[in-house]
C-alpha cells in the first residue's frame, strides 16, 4: 500500500511536469499558431544553463538561471527565426516552422555533443543532494516536493499575469481574435514574443529539475517535447492552459504505475501506445463524420468546419 501511495506521489510529481509542458504549449501554440517543437531546445538549454550556473552559484539560483535561459532562448527563437520564417513563406508557415524547430533540436543536440565531447555531453548539476522526507506517513523525495512547488508556482504566475495585467489582456485578445486585436492596436508579434518567453521559461525550469533528477544529456529534449504536444492536443489548444493538469497527471501516474509492472523500455513503449490511442480518439472525435452526427444530437458551441463570410 505504502509503495502504491509512494508511486502515486512520484507519478503525480512527474505528471505535474508534463502538465506544465502541455500548458506551456497550449499557451504558445494556442496563441501564436506556431508548432514549436523546439520547446525541447528550451528544456535542454534550461538544464545546461543550470549545470553551468551551479558551478558558481547555489542550486536554487541555478534553477533561476535555467528559467531565464529557457525564456530568453524562446524569445530569441520567436523573434529571430519563426517570425522571419513566417514572413518568408506565409502559406507554408506551419510546415516550415515545424521543420525549423526540428532542425533547431538537431543543432542543439549536435552542438552540445561537440562542445562537451567527454562523456557524451552528460553533465550533472552541482550542489544539490536529494533525500527522502516523510510527510504524514508518506515518504517522498525532496526533489519531487520542489518540482511540485515549482510547477504550481509557474502555473499560478502565468495565470495571474494573464488575468491581472494589461499584457495578459493583450495575450487573451490575440488568442481570441488575432486580426481584431491587431485592429485595436495590439501588436501580435510582441504578444508572440511574450508568450514564447513565458512558456519557454517555465519549460526551461522543468529542464533543470530533470537535470537535478539524473543529469543533463544532449538528447533530453525530444521526449518532453513530444509528451507536451500530446497533452496540449488532448487537452485542446483553445482551452485554458491549466486544463492540461488532468491529462498531464494521468500520463505521469500511469507511467509510474506501469514501471511497477514492466521495464522502463517497455513502459516507454506502452506510454507511447497510450498517447497514440489518445490522439486517434481525439482525431476520431474531431472527424467530419462524427461532428456531423454529434451535432445533430446536441447543439455545438462553436463553428467546427465552417467557411467564413460576413453573412
Amino acid at each position: 500500500m505504502r509503495d502504491t501511495v509512494g508511486a502515486l506521489i512520484e507519478g503525480s510529481a512527474a505528471g505535474l511536469g508534463y502538465a506544465l509542458l502541455g500548458a506551456s504549449l497550449i499557451l504558445i501554440v494556442g496563441t501564436t499558431g506556431r508548432f514549436h517543437f523546439a520547446i525541447g531546445v528550451n528544456y535542454l538549454l534550461g538544464a545546461y544553463a543550470a549545470v553551468a550556473a551551479s558551478l558558481v552559484l547555489p542550486w536554487p539560483m541555478a534553477v533561476a538561471t535555467g528559467v531565464v535561459a529557457g525564456g530568453v532562448s524562446g524569445a530569441l527563437i520567436e523573434a529571430g527565426l519563426y517570425d522571419r520564417v513566417e514572413r518568408s513563406a506565409p502559406a507554408s508557415a506551419l510546415l516550415n516552422i515545424f521543420v525549423v524547430a526540428f532542425a533547431l533540436m538537431s543543432i542543439a543536440e549536435g552542438a552540445l555533443r561537440l562542445l562537451l565531447s567527454s562523456g557524451g555531453g552528460v553533465r550533472k548539476v552541482s550542489g544539490f543532494s536529494d533525500q527522502q522526507i516523510s510527510l504524514l506517513g508518506v515518504t517522498m523525495t525532496k526533489l519531487n516536493l520542489w518540482q511540485v512547488a515549482y510547477v504550481l508556482l509557474a502555473l499560478l504566475a502565468i495565470q495571474l499575469l494573464l488575468v491581472t495585467t494589461s499584457a495578459g489582456l493583450r495575450v487573451r485578445g490575440v488568442r481570441s481574435n488575432r486580426e481584431l486585436a491587431a485592429v485595436h492596436g495590439v501588436n501580435p508579434r510582441h504578444v508572440n514574443v511574450l508568450v514564447f518567453t513565458l512558456g519557454c521559461a517555465a519549460v526551461g525550469g522543468l529542464g533543470v529539475f530533470a537535470a537535478l533528477r539524473t543529469s543533463a544529456t544532449p538528447d533530453m529534449g525530444l521526449t518532453p517535447a513530444f509528451y507536451g504536444f500530446v497533452i496540449a492536443f488532448v487537452t485542446g489548444l483553445g482551452r485554458p492552459f491549466f486544463h492540461a493538469l488532468v491529462p498531464g497527471l494521468a500520463v505521469g501516474v500511469t507511467e509510474r504505475m506501469l514501471l511497477n509492472l514492466m521495464s522502463p523500455a517497455q513502459t516507454q513503449v506502452a506510454i507511447f501506445g497510450v498517447l497514440f490511442l489518445l490522439l486517434v480518439l481525439r482525431a476520431a472525435l474531431a472527424s467530419r463524420w462524427f461532428v456531423a452526427h454529434a451535432t445533430r444530437r446536441r447543439p455545438a458551441s462553436r463553428p467546427a468546419v465552417g467557411v467564413g463570410g460576413t453573412g
Binding site: 508548432f35 526540428f102 532542425a103 463553428p303 467546427a304 460576413t310 453573412g311
Partner: protein, 564 residues
C-alpha cells in the same frame, strides 16, 4: 579513393533518392508532413529482414512483404488524421516514429538496439551481389522504377488533383474532389515507397537497426527535399546527393566518423533553416504556372467540349438550425431555390447568409433540419458528395489554386474522368488521353466563357483579384454543377468588372443554371434576382421580388438602413 567506395556512395544516393522522392509526394504535392517516414522505411526494412531470416523467403518476396506492410502502416496512421488539421498528422506521425523505435529497440526478437543481422545475400542469375558494383545496376533499376511511379503520380491528371488538394483543399472539396481519399492514397503510397527503400537497404547493408530509422533520419529526408526543391522530381534527387555525399566528404577529408556525423548534422540543419529563410522553394524550384500534366496524357486530336448542362435540379432545405454558443446562426430556415433563376440571399452582416451556404453545401454540420438535392437527402453527406450531385459553391475570399495556371485550375475541376483516379492512367492510357484532351477543351471553353485568356501561364495566385474571381467562376462552371451558390461574387471587384460578371451571371441563367448569390448591393440584386430571400438573426424573415420587399418598411429599415 577506392572505386568500390565511390560506387557505395552512388548506391547510398540512389537509396536516399527513393526516400526523398517518396516524402516529396507529401511535402511537395498534398502539402503534408510525415515525421514517421523513416519509421515506415524501418517497417519495410525490419519486415523484409525478419521474413528472410525466419522463413527463408526469396529476395523479391521479402521486399514485397516489407513494402506492403509499410503501405498498410501508412493507411492505418493516415486514416484517422488526414481529414484533420495538419498538426494532428504531425503529432500522430511523431508518435508512430517513437512507437516504432521503442518497439524495435525493446523487442529481443528484433535484435534490440543492435538490430537484425544475417539477412540472406541476394543472388541474381547464379551470382551473389556482394560488392557495391554488383548492386549498382539493380539499385539504378529500383530508383528508376520509383522515379517513374512518382512521375506518373505527379504529371498525370491524378497529379493535378493532388496539386489542387495541396493548394486549396476546401475549394477542392467544394468542387467534388475526394480530398481525404486522395490524401490517404498518397500518404499510403509514400509510406509504401519508403518501405521499399527500407527493405532494399536491409539487403544492401546486410543489417537493419533502430538507429537507421530514427527521427534524425526522417529529418535528413525532409532536408533533402527542402534543400533540393519540393514539388519537383529533380529537387529531391539533388537534395539526396548533397545530403548523402557531405558526411562522407568530411570523412574523406580526414575527420573521424563520429565528429563528421555531428558536423554534418549541424551543417544540414543550418542549411535547412537558411534555405527556408532565403530560398523557400529549394535549389530547383517548380516553374510557376507551368503545365502540370504531361502531354503524354493528352490525345493529339481535340474533342469538342461537352455542352453546358441545363437541368432543373432542385435544392431545398427544411428547418435548418445551428447555434454558435447562445447565438442562433440558423433558426429553422426552410428554403427552396427557384430553378433556373437567380435568387439572392440578403440581410445585414451576421444574419446567417454564409452560414446557410455552409450548411447547404455541407461545410457546416447542422443541429436540426434536412437538406435535399433533388430527391436525395444529403444532410449528413460531405461537400464533395453534394458537389458531385450538382451543388457547387464559390467563396468570398476566392480560394484559388494559387500555384496552378488558370487552365490547370479549371481543368482540374472538370468532373472525374478517366485518368483522374489513381490507376486508370496506367490501365486505360488511351481513354485517359482522350479524357484529358476533352477536359482541357472544356476548361478552355469555360475560361473563354468568363473572358480569361486560357493561354495565360501565370499562376492563378498572381492574377488580379477580379481575374481570380473569374477563374474561380470558370472552375465552378467546369465542375458541371447545375446549382451555383455564389458568395458575394462582386465583392472586392472594381467597377469595370462588375458589369462583366453580372452579364456573365445572366448568361448562365439563360443557359439553365440555378444560381443563388449572397449580395449586399441593391443595384446588383434588383438587376439579377427574380426572388430575394431576406435573412435576419439566422431566420428567413421575408421572401419575394425586390419590388415586393421594398414595399415593406420593416425590410427597408432593417436591411437598407443597416447596409447603407
Amino acid at each position: 579513393m577506392n572505386s568500390q567506395i565511390q560506387i557505395d556512395v552512388v548506391n547510398a544516393c540512389l537509396l536516399a533518392g527513393v526516400l526523398a522522392l517518396s516524402i516529396n509526394l507529401l511535402l511537395g504535392y498534398t502539402r503534408h508532413i510525415s515525421v514517421a517516414h523513416a519509421a515506415f522505411a524501418g517497417v519495410g526494412s525490419y519486415a523484409a529482414t525478419w521474413v528472410s531470416i525466419q522463413q527463408g523467403l526469396p529476395f523479391l518476396t521479402c521486399v514485397a512483404i516489407g513494402t506492403g506492410l509499410a503501405l498498410v502502416s501508412g493507411v492505418l496512421v493516415g486514416l484517422p488524421s488526414l481529414g484533420l488539421a495538419d498538426e494532428f498528422l504531425i503529432l500522430l506521425t511523431l508518435c508512430t516514429g517513437a512507437l516504432f523505435t521503442g518497439v524495435v529497440t525493446s523487442a529481443p526478437d528484433l535484435g534490440g538496439a543492435y538490430g537484425l543481422l544475417g539477412i540472406e545475400q541476394v543472388t541474381v542469375a547464379g551470382s551473389t551481389l556482394l560488392r557495391p558494383s554488383d548492386w549498382l545496376p539493380y539499385l539504378i533499376l529500383a530508383f528508376g522504377c520509383v522515379l517513374a511511379i512518382c512521375w506518373y503520380l505527379t504529371r498525370s491528371p491524378y497529379g493535378r488533383r493532388l496539386r489542387a488538394v495541396g493548394d486549396e483543399p476546401t475549394a477542392a472539396s467544394a468542387l467534388g474532389m475526394p480530398v481525404q481519399l486522395l490524401r490517404l492514397q498518397v500518404f499510403a503510397l509514400a509510406a509504401g515507397l519508403a518501405g521499399f527503400a527500407g527493405a532494399i537497404s536491409a539487403y544492401y547493408n546486410q543489417v537493419t537497426s533502430p538507429a537507421m530509422w530514427s527521427f534524425n533520419q526522417t529529418l535528413l529526408i525532409i532536408i533533402m527535399v527542402i534543400v533540393g526543391g519540393s514539388g519537383t522530381l529533380a529537387g529531391p534527387c539533388l537534395g539526396a546527393v548533397v545530403i548523402t555525399v557531405l558526411p562522407r566528404a568530411l570523412q574523406f577529408a580526414g575527420m573521424p566518423p563520429d565528429r563528421a556525423g555531428l558536423y554534418s548534422q549541424i551543417i544540414f540543419a543550418v542549411l535547412l533553416i537558411g534555405m527556408i529563410l532565403v530560398r523557400p522553394g529549394g535549389l530547383i524550384r517548380r516553374r510557376p504556372g507551368s503545365r502540370i500534366v504531361s502531354n503524354v496524357f493528352a490525345a493529339a486530336v481535340g474533342l469538342s467540349p461537352s455542352a453546358p448542362r441545363a437541368g432543373a435540379l432542385a435544392v431545398r432545405a427544411e428547418g435548418l438550425s445551428k447555434h454558435f454558443g447562445g447565438v442562433a446562426a440558423l433558426d429553422g430556415v426552410t428554403i427552396e431555390l427557384p430553378r433556373q433563376q437567380i435568387s439572392a440571399l440578403v440581410g445585414p452582416n451576421g444574419a446567417g447568409k454564409t452560414t446557410l451556404f455552409n450548411a447547404l453545401t455541407g461545410f457546416l454540420p447542422v443541429e436540426g433540419g434536412r437538406v435535399f438535392i433533388g430527391a436525395t437527402d444529403v444532410t449528413l453527406k460531405s461537400p464533395a458528395y453534394r458537389a458531385r450531385l450538382g451543388l457547387v459553391r464559390s467563396f468570398q475570399d476566392v480560394r484559388s489554386f494559387a500555384t496552378m495556371s488558370p487552365l490547370d485550375s479549371v481543368t482540374v475541376a472538370v468532373p472525374a474522368r478517366r485518368g483522374s483516379d489513381l490507376a486508370s492512367g496506367l490501365l486505360r492510357p488511351r481513354a485517359t488521353r482522350r479524357a484529358e484532351r476533352s477536359s482541357r477543351e472544356a476548361a478552355r471553353y469555360w475560361l473563354e466563357y468568363v473572358g480569361v485568356d486560357a493561354d495565360d501561364l501565370r499562376p492563378t495566385g498572381d492574377l488580379s483579384f477580379a481575374e481570380q474571381k473569374l477563374v474561380a467562376l470558370a472552375r465552378t462552371l467546369a465542375s458541371g454543377a447545375e446549382v451555383l451558390l455564389l458568395d458575394e461574387p462582386l465583392s472586392g471587384v472594381d467597377e469595370r468588372w462588375v458589369d462583366t460578371i453580372m452579364d456573365l451571371l445572366e448568361r448562365l441563367r439563360a443557359d439553365g443554371h440555378t444560381i443563388c448569390i449572397v449580395e449586399h448591393s441593391l443595384h446588383v440584386v434588383s438587376r439579377l434576382a427574380t426572388q430575394v430571400f431576406f435573412m435576419e438573426a439566422g431566420a428567413l424573415t421575408a421572401t419575394g421580388t425586390v419590388e415586393e420587399l421594398l414595399g415593406r418598411p420593416e425590410f427597408v429599415d432593417s436591411y437598407f438602413g443597416a447596409a447603407s
